[in-house]
Symmetry: C2
Subunit: 242 residues, 2 copies
């Protein structure tokens, strides 16, 4: 981890988040993080991957499998290009798995895309920090044109955060099951088609919130189940800005 | 109209539809349609523009106004490029207005985009057939790379037809008004935001039908109002292909 922090510092990246780490002992990391101390100091720890990614608009996982459940892996170059592109809409993330087991299917399903670094049969498995070095180098190469930073765009016109999109997917599942549109035995296929169509839209944060509020209202009008949370401050309703 | 048919034949276009024509007398047209006879013979007449466009996935209108209700006109070249691009997803249309009054605001609102041919102040108004010549020439220029025809894609994976998207918009309006999500005094703004996000998704016909069916089910579960039509054959339910 210290080595990862160092190579992040090498290429100008600074935000490191540990998701459900196996260990909370970071002393060894400090030794390896030569001039990567700021990265380690700023490091955050999240309970799980969805929480770690909730403020990101796009995330690429890493794995050795080129196809997972019908989804095809990106090349490292494609991933770097997409990360650069989405970084105009908001925060993006590169997700690396633990050295032992890598990312689980569920964690990869939560990522927007995933990549494979092609390696030789002689030694297919890469050291985590070295994989990070390859990928962060490619990412930094994309950045040398210095596109405008997403932070200059008003928050609601930035890309939709994955946490919001995730909440929307959950709300759609709940409402569309209750509406007897989704098949209770096998809701995933059709739900994913609808979700994927929204992902292609590259929703802004505002649009994602509008969709979420729309489904909440519809769910409430259908009766039963969850209603819009009483705890949400009225000012969170994006329609008040219309 | 005969002259339009001729220039369509010049550039390899063959499908002409008249929408709510002022006259049904076409004799004069035949004289001008030199070698454009096939176009005239195949010509169809529609009651109104939505009907004329219902099987198209994308349509560009023509006007002399560069901005209408916040929407900005395309240049002729941009329009030709977009028409070529969308023609991979399905049928596209170039919409020309009658020589006297051009297209109304409502007709332009129904088009996916609209274009302006920049002209001189000396004589800003173009003859319809000559405008058609300019635009069809630009369109034919786009086609010379001969991209694969949309007709080779299975119908449900082709782009969503405007008729279906239009029905979806109407259903969303009805359901979201009843759910008290849209403001009855001013539903348009927020509804358009949701619709525009779906347009950016470039829905396939299947996705548009799924969304439409989803909203129908939700509307029915909310009680009152329209339910899914009894007259729709069960095989129309796109979920049965899942």
């Amino acid at each position: 981890m210290g080595a990862v922090a160092r190579v992040m510092a090498n290429f100008g990246f600074s935000r490191l988040i540990l998701s459900d780490p196996a260990t909370y002992s970071f002393r060894g990391a400090e030794r390896l993080a030569v001039k990567g101390g700021a990265v380690l100091e700023g490091m955050a720890v999240a309970q799980n991957l969805p929480e770690a990614l909730k403020d990101c608009v796009y995330a690429v996982g890493t794995t050795s499998r080129t196809q997972i459940e019908g989804r095809v892996a990106l090349t490292p170059e494609e991933a770097a290009a997409r990360l650069a592109e989405h970084s105009r809409r908001g925060r993006v993330a590169l997700v690396l798995g633990g050295e032992q087991r890598g990312l689980s299917n569920e964690e990869l399903a939560f990522c927007s895309d995933f990549l494979v670094i092609p390696t030789s049969e002689v030694q297919p498995s890469m050291n985590l920090a070295q994989a990070a070095a390859v990928l962060l180098y490619l990412c930094s190469r994309e950045g040398r044109g210095a596109p405008e930073r997403a932070a200059e765009v008003a928050p609601e016109f930035q890309g939709a955060r994955m946490g919001t999109v995730s909440a929307l997917g959950e709300r759609m599942r709940e409402v569309l099951l209750r509406a007897q549109f989704l098949n209770p035995q096998a809701p995933e296929h059709v739900l994913r088609e609808l979700e994927r169509s929204l992902l292609r839209a590259e929703l802004t944060q505002r649009e994602a919130e509008l969709w979420l509020t729309a489904f909440k209202h519809v769910g409430r009008m259908m009766g039963g189940g969850k209603g819009p949370s009483e705890q949400e401050a009225p000012s969170r309703d994006p329609r008040r800005n219309a």
